[in-house]
Amino acid sequence: MARSLTTGFSAFALSAALAMTSFGAHAAESLTVVSWGGAYGAAQKNHMIDPFQKDTGVKVLFEDYSGGVAEMKAQVESGNIQWDVVDLEVIDLERACSEGLLETIPHDILPAGADGTPAADDFIPEALASECAVGNIVWSVVFAYNEKTIGGTKASSIGDFFDTQKIPGKRAMRKRPQVNMEWALLADGVAPAEVYEVLATAEGQARAFAKLDTLKNDIVWFDSWSQAPQLLNDGGAVLVQSANGRFYDAIRQEGKPFVIVWDGHVYDLDAWAVLKGSPKKDLAFKFIAYVTESKPLAGMSDVAYGPTRKSSAPMMDPAAAPHLPTAHLDKGIQAGSDFWADYGESLGEKFNEWLLK
């Protein structure tokens, strides 16, 4: 009893702040959906949220977060569920699902594709790999350069990212081990298929850090993908890492002279999931079934994220097709969600140690 009292109490304290931000969010037919904001959030609002609200009359409260499982953990542990549906990176999904933070989604709620293909065959296999989620998009971490600042020699491979002789200037990377460690090994000549195998060994990790060392004085670190196009635009860095959709949006909407380099890109899925204990579980399932139909998924090509249903392909803007990660799968590797569930924390510590050296 004493124990449950204290855990309840601490959970209360942790979720108090969350509770305050979304007080009164649970009016009659409403659903709280949480995603990543930015251009991606705008595309989701346009092609998923708004049509769903219109067709069902359910009010959707659409909120932003910046990834990670901490907020979900706080809500589930305290029993104070504020979010119903969440858009997760597969890296986080693996962990959230096995820790019991998410509901199991029966995949038979998913309707057949627009061309009549049953859902099980219509979705790419990775999209239905987890029992806790339904894959939404295929997106990718790539790097890009600015035609205006790159100079005479253009970058074309992941090796160029690490070659400051060939292309002098700053590199901007997100401050975390994910993707950066993979890139270091790829640039060091490790075969794409063996990257995670090598990275699981102490020697492989040392090798990746040694490669990153060669670049250390030329790296500008950032914390959020939204900072990346800015760095490329104002000349803060010559080669900049980000999600492909962020660059695509800057190119398409703002006419920036950015060029995306696909070599060595690390692609991953984003997936819709339902928070464990959500009082609106059934409505949440209905939402997920609705927004993962062929047409809403095709709309994600607005920001160059690939749809997870094959039947979405004919509905997409053909101009977007060459910019989707799915058009470049042969040049990239899939982010290792199992690997990062295993080594995320220990490599996170080592990465921070390396940063301090």
Binding site: F9, G68, K170, D342, Y343, E345, S346, K350, N352, L356
Partner: protein, 410 residues
């Protein structure tokens, strides 16, 4: 001289009690507020850093059996079978991920191994467990035959633990050699040192910049001083994020400062200022400066100018008069400002995260990493508790050598 009767005395005591009760009722909301928003979270954080019952709840039988284990070989068949059957139960209740994460924390790389082993064992029928459980487990992953792993499980299974504090101090417990310095990763002590160092630099800069300004303001006529004080307070009233982002605009490679210096022909190529500890120090000094100026100003205002005049008329030169008469009288304000700036900057998070880059990291950023990314809340709690203890220690030292009663905010 008249004496009180007992009834009069009890009446008076009753009135006093009533008064005290009334006074207490007035502060109840504040007390409740502090209890809920301050004492309870800090208490739960301290508690979380030593109390860790998850593993003990998940595999109680295995842990009880492991108490008889010698620590040298693979645990015996009975323990392995027990563990296999508990893992079987966890797999059925979809809780194996929790165990996986906990074991992974003390033995990196085990998360997927625990989960896949749980899946394999989950496929066995309950009646197969006694005969095949142990064997299936050992076959599922080679690490199950390593004593180090079982030692790690045993450590993780302790309900009350100081292991997180060891990690927070870059130490680890070795099965044979006892407590020793962590072999693979050492970051936290370095970060504490760096954080204190930065806080000290920021405090010194604030004092150097704030003291002359406060002196100037304090010796102006009241109406002009108030006007200028608004200029000090204006940034104070501006959003923290706005001020930090303004520094990004100023300091970045092609930002205001660099473009100015470049176009004036003073430098050949832009300075790297943003994403360095320099940027953190500059931005934080700017943000925390009012905390130094305000107490200094109010203390200086209260100092009668005639003291300084008296010292000079008794033959002191201006500088000794300032150092020996005026400066000691401003010490209460200076120490209040310094303490405020120092303590606030030790725990600062937003500004270093935004402008700090690699070398502008402080301990708060790694606490945020463990809260948000690795979800190791216990370690985050231990790191936070150590930070709290460190600040209390510094405060105690300060009280001992300077005296807390010397602090004056106005």
């Amino acid at each position: 001289m008249s004496t009180l009767t007992t009834s009069e005395a009890s009446q008076a005591a009753g009135a006093r009690r009533k008064k005290r009760l009334n006074a207490f009722i007035f502060v109840v909301p504040l007390l409740l507020f502090i209890l809920l928003t301050f004492v309870a979270p800090i208490g739960s954080m301290l508690w979380r850093s030593v109390h860790h019952p998850i593993v003990a709840e998940l595999i109680p039988l295995t842990l009880a059996e492991l108490q008889h284990w010698d620590g040298q070989q693979i645990p015996d068949q009975k323990t392995l079978t027990l563990f296999a059957s508990e893992l079987h139960g966890l797999a059925k209740r979809r809780l194996s991920g929790k165990l996986a994460e906990e074991i992974n924390r003390s033995y990196a790389g085990m998360s997927s191994a625990v989960k896949s082993s749980a899946r394999k064992i989950g496929r066995l029928k309950p009646e197969q467990l006694p005969s095949q459980g142990a064997e299936t487990l050992l076959k599922a992953h080679r690490n199950w035959s390593k004593p180090e792993l079982w030692y790690a499980i045993q450590r993780a299974g302790q309900v009350y633990t100081y292991d997180y504090y060891l990690t927070a101090l870059d130490l680890e417990l070795h099965p044979d050699q006892g407590i020793q310095v962590r072999e693979d990763t050492q970051i936290y002590l370095q970060l504490y040192g760096k954080t204190l160092n930065m806080a000290l630099v920021i405090t010194l800069l604030c004092a150097l910049l704030g003291y002359p300004l406060a002196y100037y303001l304090a010796n102006l006529p009241e109406n002009r001083a108030n006007l200028l004080l608004v200029l000090v307070l204006l940034p104070f009233w501006t959003s923290l994020l706005v001020r930090t982002t303004a520094w990004i605009a100023l300091l970045q490679t092609n930002g205001v400062i660099n473009s100015f210096l470049l176009s004036a022909g003073l430098i050949g190529r832009p300075f790297e200022m943003l994403y360095t500890s320099f940027a953190t120090v500059v931005a934080m000094t700017h943000i925390l400066l009012p905390f130094m100026i305000l107490p200094l100003y109010s203390v200086m205002r209260g100092i009668d100018a005639s003291y300084l005049r008296a010292a000079m008329s008794l033959g002191a030169k201006p500088i000794p008069a300032f150092v020996r008469i005026y400066f000691p009288m401003t010490l209460p304000g200076l120490s209040a400002g310094a303490l405020l700036v120092f303590i606030i900057s030790v725990g600062y998070y937003i500004t270093p995260a935004l402008v700090g880059g690699t070398d502008g990291q402080m301990i708060s950023n790694i606490i945020a990493f463990h809260m948000q990314r690795s979800s190791n809340w216990e370690l985050a709690a231990a790191l936070g508790s150590l930070l709290l203890a460190l600040i209390l220690l510094l405060y105690w030292l300060y009280d001992r050598y300077v005296g807390a009663s010397n602090i004056k905010l106005g």
